[in-house]
Symmetry: C2
Subunit: 517 residues, 2 copies
């Protein structure tokens, strides 16, 4: 048995049954080993950003790592942007990066590069396998590191460790440490601070604390103790919809964000970090809480956030029977007609959303209204790019559909962002994934036009326009999708969009709607 | 005047008039500055691999750096694979990576990452600008570093250095050091070794030594002193065609490469490195020269390779009037007909090649015959991916066409490789570039099937097949191209291919031929 076989066996023994892959020569022994394990589902991406982004989407929906297979430094490099998003989403992931045989590195062959230096910024944990006998312990360590607490791990697999014979490998289930008990000192400190600031305390949730069960507890605290409930501007995964507690999302623009937090004297972090401005702007603050706001940590990522919220609720004397208050019906609003708009799409998707759907929102400026409306939609999971790295949407939808084959995935995608990893549509076609992609075709990097105004540029000239607009020629998304085997159609009126969406939702399999704005 | 303006001014003062760009929020002041400099040509890429690959193509054809504009760590990450190719091609390049304002970094906002760690493996030189007053000296240093010797440089531009006012900046032409004088000791040592090994010496050329003028001198040495002339397996740029000296390319397969070098006792490096196996294989050597072969350096990258070759020629007593021997006519061969094949495409392109064309060859296994045939074609420049990183072809053709608007660019592109940076077709359409892309649509990673055989796997199973083949669904390249505004058509017979190629060569502007194999 060689190292590559052992690596596969450790993954399978620990319920890692999916490998998103874009292999190369140095991984041929690993590919051969995967070929001997039909129980491993191998999913090809035609570009590595698809591979890592899909693993992120898979992890968000299953709370489990998928493996990725990447080819040397450049293959890893192509996957880094979505590893960055995954790292910020706190997603478990096991990247396996094939490298030259260890004795070949000193020859500096063309594909040689410093893989550790590339991997470290986008990984929580990096290890180079020392040889065939190190494959099992290293892979077990990677698995453990990917889950305690969840995060991105990268394992470098030299070709000679893959092809070398392994002496004796005992492959079994890795024992994972349980999360620590609730920190009752923190619970009491937080409760006292909330009591001391009636009506001026807030809780911000992230990670597992944004799931329906945790949100329900947070909602009881919010109602029972007059605490405002927030979520971060970018959300890895939140369970939303009718009957679920909907936190206030901290807005992206700095002025709006500081306004939302202006009268908060105590901010409690539940798996979250203190909110900061996405970017710095001359003369504007980087921290978003007001001067003097007390920022307290109830529990951090990797701790049992539900248990911590329950303990806080009890400490505050709020009853588990406390009813939370939430809206149950859409705002009364006429169905839009005529020329298609961003807001009309948001309303249409929110109203028509099938129960238990998964939303992957990378529409950037175009779907801003959707998040608010989704509180009234059928219960669903809502995911966004979390690291600000563009090109996460199509791959994330791909991975989510692999993770949840019985749920409809709807990808709200900006045209600019979609182009970074457009190759993911092919994987959706090949794997026959149940994904509806809605491309907001406004033919511009709209967010950057806004940012130009933010830095004080009024009228822009030819050079800037040509860097901010996606026109001349316009992208034809119907053609692009068909080129990769995904059925597609175009809408420029509300009526046509609604008809296409009805059709796409009534069938299985990938479909793309180009929404011309 | 702010830092961003100064950065642009330094570039323009030093004849860096092209900026390949994919900007983001942290670069808005730089975009505003570029907007104030209409003499800077800004070329948008819809993905950063297009940006850096185009800068590489531009550099290869002009021997000058272009600037790139990339957005924070993830934007840089997306550009790294083609920076890797550029570094291996010894291409000058100035990457400008926008980062958060320096005081914002400690807040660990979502887009924060360790840019230096990401950039270093794929750059010869990295520097973070310390503040507005450091913009001019840092940019001058980057320019100098990009050319002495030519290589990839990365300049990190914090947003507050871009927007900050600059005290007094004197912007002017940077003085570059001249290359050192020819090392006559090396010349004499090499000449003596060649004389001592009659018929068993070889010269291997790279970089500037693969241009027509240097090859002519090397050809005189080869003929006059019975020295074999080699080039590396991957060539950044070689001037080829009728009337030019054609070196023997060292083959990619290890066994073929060692066979070619088996009776070489003295190998002389001219701007080149000692040839090594691209990958390690169990039981096969990594070094390709035979045991005991003497490897000598005549001159290294950055030295005057022409002058060194002239000095060697003179030292060997070869007359400058020495005629070199080269074939002048295509091998006598019937024009293929019927079902299209890889070799038929190679022959057709070689025969029809317009004078002074530029070939960008990323056809991997599919165009292996073209290189041999191109020795008989009209004089042209021939370029390949040099670092083994996939996805260089379409961007490289894009950059070459920007550099040489009056020359026809022909991109021989594998379907697998083309998909990595397919977004480059849009830039070709927008900039109306004179590029003919020929996609070898064999619907498989053919090289990996070969590598599976190399590692001893005979029949492959379902998991491997699904990672090595690009079928179910097939890519429709005509649709993909049209989706990005590039006219395209499909050929599956030799006759149809010839007709399409004639048509594409007779007009200006981008055109894609999907050659179905």
């Amino acid at each position: 048995m060689n190292g590559a076989d052992v690596l596969c066996d450790v993954l399978l023994a620990n319920d890692v049954p999916v490998c998103f892959a874009n292999p190369g020569t140095s991984e041929m022994h690993f590919v051969a080993a995967l070929d001997r394990k039909p129980q491993m589902r191998c999913v090809l991406g035609l570009f590595e950003g698809v591979v890592t982004g899909a693993a992120d989407g898979y992890a968000r929906m299953t709370d489990r790592p998928a493996a990725t297979l990447l080819h040397t430094g450049p293959g890893l490099a192509n996957g880094l942007a979505n590893m960055h998003n995954a790292r910020r989403a706190l997603s478990p992931m096991i990247n396996i990066v094939g490298d030259h045989a260890s004795y070949h590195l000193s020859l500096d062959a063309p594909l040689t590069s410093d893989i550790e230096s590339l991997a470290t910024p986008m990984s929580n944990w990096v290890r180079r396998i020392a040889g065939p006998d190190d494959v099992a312990p290293a892979t077990e360590a990677a698995y453990r590191a990917s889950l305690t607490p969840p995060g991105v791990t990268t394992l470098i697999l030299p070709a000679d460790a893959a092809w070398g014979e392994v002496g004796a490998a005992s492959v079994g289930k890795v024992k994972l440490a349980s999360p620590p008990a609730v920190n009752m000192d923190a619970v009491r400190t937080v409760a006292a601070a909330i009591r001391a600031a009636p009506g001026r305390a807030g809780i911000i949730v992230r990670g597992r604390a944004a799931r329906a069960d945790a949100l329900a507890i947070a909602g009881q605290i919010s109602t029972g103790s007059d605490v405002r409930l927030f979520s971060e501007v970018l959300t890895a995964r939140m369970q939303r919809g009718r009957g679920r507690v909907a936190p206030i999302r901290i807005p992206y623009p700095v002025d709006a964000a500081t306004a939302v937090l202006r009268d908060i004297d105590v901010l409690v972090l539940v798996g979250a970090k203190e909110p900061v401005a996405f970017f710095a702007y001359p003369g504007k603050p980087g921290r978003l809480v007001r001067e003097g706001c007390q920022v307290l940590t109830l529990a951090t990522h990797g701790e049992n956030l539900n248990a911590a919220l329950e303990a806080l609720r009890d400490e505050l004397g709020v009853k588990p029977s406390q009813q939370t208050v939430f809206a149950t019906a859409f705002p009364d609003e006429a169905t839009p007609s005529g020329k298609l708009t961003e807001d009309a799409i948001a309303l249409s998707v929110a109203r028509k959303l099938p129960a238990d759907a998964i939303i992957c929102d990378e529409a950037v400026t175009s779907a801003r209204r959707f998040f608010a409306l989704s509180a009234f939609a059928a219960p669903h999971d809502y995911m966004m790019g979390t690291g600000g790295s563009i090109g996460g949407g199509i791959p994330m939808a791909t991975g989510a559909a692999i993770a949840c084959p019985d749920r409809k995935v709807i990808n709200l995608e900006a045209d600019g962002s979609g182009m970074y990893t457009v190759q993911g549509l092919w994987t959706q076609a090949r794997e026959k994934l149940d994904v509806v992609t809605i491309v907001f075709s406004n033919r511009t990097y709209a967010i950057l036009h806004g940012e130009m105004r933010n830095v004080g540029v009024g009228a822009i000239g030819e050079n800037a326009r040509r860097m901010l607009d996606l026109d001349h020629p316009s992208l034809d998304w119907v053609c692009l999708a068909k080129g990769m085997g995904v059925e597609a159609a175009r809408a420029d009126t509300c009526e046509r969009f609604d008809a296409l969406l009805d059709s796409a939702l009534s069938r299985r399999g990938p479909f793309l709607i180009e929404a011309v704005l």
